[in-house]
Symmetry: C2
Subunit: 377 residues, 2 copies
Amino acid sequence: MGAGLQPTREGDVTFACDAPFQLEAGGALQPVAIRYAVYGELNTARDNAVQVCHALSGSARVADWWPEMFAAPSTANGGPHNAVFDLSRDCVICANILGSCYGSTGPASTNPATGRPYGPDFPVVHVRDIVRTQARVLDELGVKHLRTVIGASIGGMQALQWAIDYPDRVGHCIAIGTAPLSAMGLALNHLQRKAILLDPKFQGGHYPAGQQPADGLALARAIAMCSYKSAELFGERYARKANRNGEDPLRSLHERFDVAGYLDYQGEKFEKRFDANSYLVITKLMDTFDLARGYASEEEALRRIRAQVSLIGISSDWLFPPEDVLSLAKRLQAAGVACNYTEFESAHGHDGFLAEMEAIAAVVNGSVEARRTCARG
Amino acid sequence: MGAGLQPTREGDVTFACDAPFQLEAGGALQPVAIRYAVYGELNTARDNAVQVCHALSGSARVADWWPEMFAAPSTANGGPHNAVFDLSRDCVICANILGSCYGSTGPASTNPATGRPYGPDFPVVHVRDIVRTQARVLDELGVKHLRTVIGASIGGMQALQWAIDYPDRVGHCIAIGTAPLSAMGLALNHLQRKAILLDPKFQGGHYPAGQQPADGLALARAIAMCSYKSAELFGERYARKANRNGEDPLRSLHERFDVAGYLDYQGEKFEKRFDANSYLVITKLMDTFDLARGYASEEEALRRIRAQVSLIGISSDWLFPPEDVLSLAKRLQAAGVACNYTEFESAHGHDGFLAEMEAIAAVVNGSVEARRTCARG
């Protein structure tokens, strides 16, 4: 496994120094810096690059948040578990998304026009913009072609966008628990943003560094956690138990059930590592993801794809329900794309791709195998 | 139908003037006033009383929020639709729940000890307390026995509690979309309360009249609306459409999709008619509802029931999933209770009991018929 695995290389690619990087929604950024991490090495044929696209709160350091996807170094030539990335074979690349707070240009970055952080003036970013910044990173790294682009959730959106916008550069696109967001998903993201705005410390987004709207961001995260997990899992884990710290939820208004204690803990943990303005920007780009963007229709967009596409739905995911992922698979097939669909059985909800990494790795490997069979057939 | 139907009588029953009304959670209130409304008249045998128990935001005026349950006055002897309440036969009684803001003693009432509103000092109330106040109202009205007690959501909790706590006073208990709240339900209520507390206008619950934490309460209601409706309904109604007021959600952070505009509207409408402290108290009593309360076990509680019980699950309800309602029906049956279960097919989610009144009325009537068959058999 990759826990503790360090990147072979990491750094920033900076561009748009002379001319602004124009964004889909109309804004622009100048300059743009994208933090990337590389695990393993490009081979001489440069045909072993695998790009991982991270989700909402991830970073370029894939091995930090998706460790079980990597073969253990000691068994790099084929360990006992279902590793997806084997650094004796693969060069794994990941770039932190534009708008994030893990190294790439985002709302906490200094706005050269003012000398202060962008804050709420950071422009709206779409998934297409992110993919374009990643292409710049790959150009810089000398990677012309990706054997695989893989991601889950917002990462899956990027993987699909890669297959559409750069059809010649992608061999296999693997998208897990992703589809254009449904009305319920749009609703939940909206409410999360409202929670941040409700916090008086938000100050219109102009909060000083270290004094962000922590309570609002924690509440947003807690709302999100409900959509990342499943009712079944909450039932199994927490049921109607009192908070494990000894509170008595029957007695007073603010003493909690265990599930509430869990959500508060997740919120508090999150606000210590994430920026509220980044959260607004990234949930927004999750909302605006639409496969038709930039093309005459979704069908026209999908017809561009030359990669094999593997879609994986998570059985208990209610943020990106498996039916929505399956529906997307059917639209891809109807557009002539070689697309396979697998349903990953998990009670963990959307978070299944992180909570059950070994199992999802096995499913991903199954998709890779299905792809090889396709290619041979 | 009952739209515009006025109560035959309404008023307050006041008690606990000399000795405090002791509450389940340990607090007490002195005095207690309960607002009630009566539609129709008690017959001379006093055997035609039907008690309706209202849900979170309801009032004693049943005909205002459940109009289609009433036969139209012109067809009171059997109209063309599936009326549940026929005032030529039934005397319909409803009491506003303790803690509410529609006439009964609640957080906005004056605390005689201080001369100011109770606010955050209003005690924790359980469903058992509410049922006990309703029994006092019925005593006052001279009603010894209820032919039927019926309610949905928190109203269904009260109906069940009636059948347990007053086994000799209930003939038929009809509970719609109700069960002890699951961990997911507890989670969502907790987050709603946090939204209210996050609003700086909350001021620890000591906000002045007319200056309540409107934004926090609106956000709480918007979160709740997601749990009252279904993803399917949101998908059909709003899909990924832009807000109907012309906003462009692709362009800026705060321009909305249609579903977000809908939720904001629902939140704003709600905060104009409901009190934030009442919201805290009532979501809490929804949390704490537990059939075992006051008895050695749930089974012991259920074994007390002598009423016929009809449970109705709503197919798309994810706040009180039909599986939870069915599971409760099975536990009732196992405890020897004459209980039937019906699943109401609706895409409206938990709100189906309000959104599709005519259809739910037909289902309720089916339950009544099933009960009569049972009684005859």
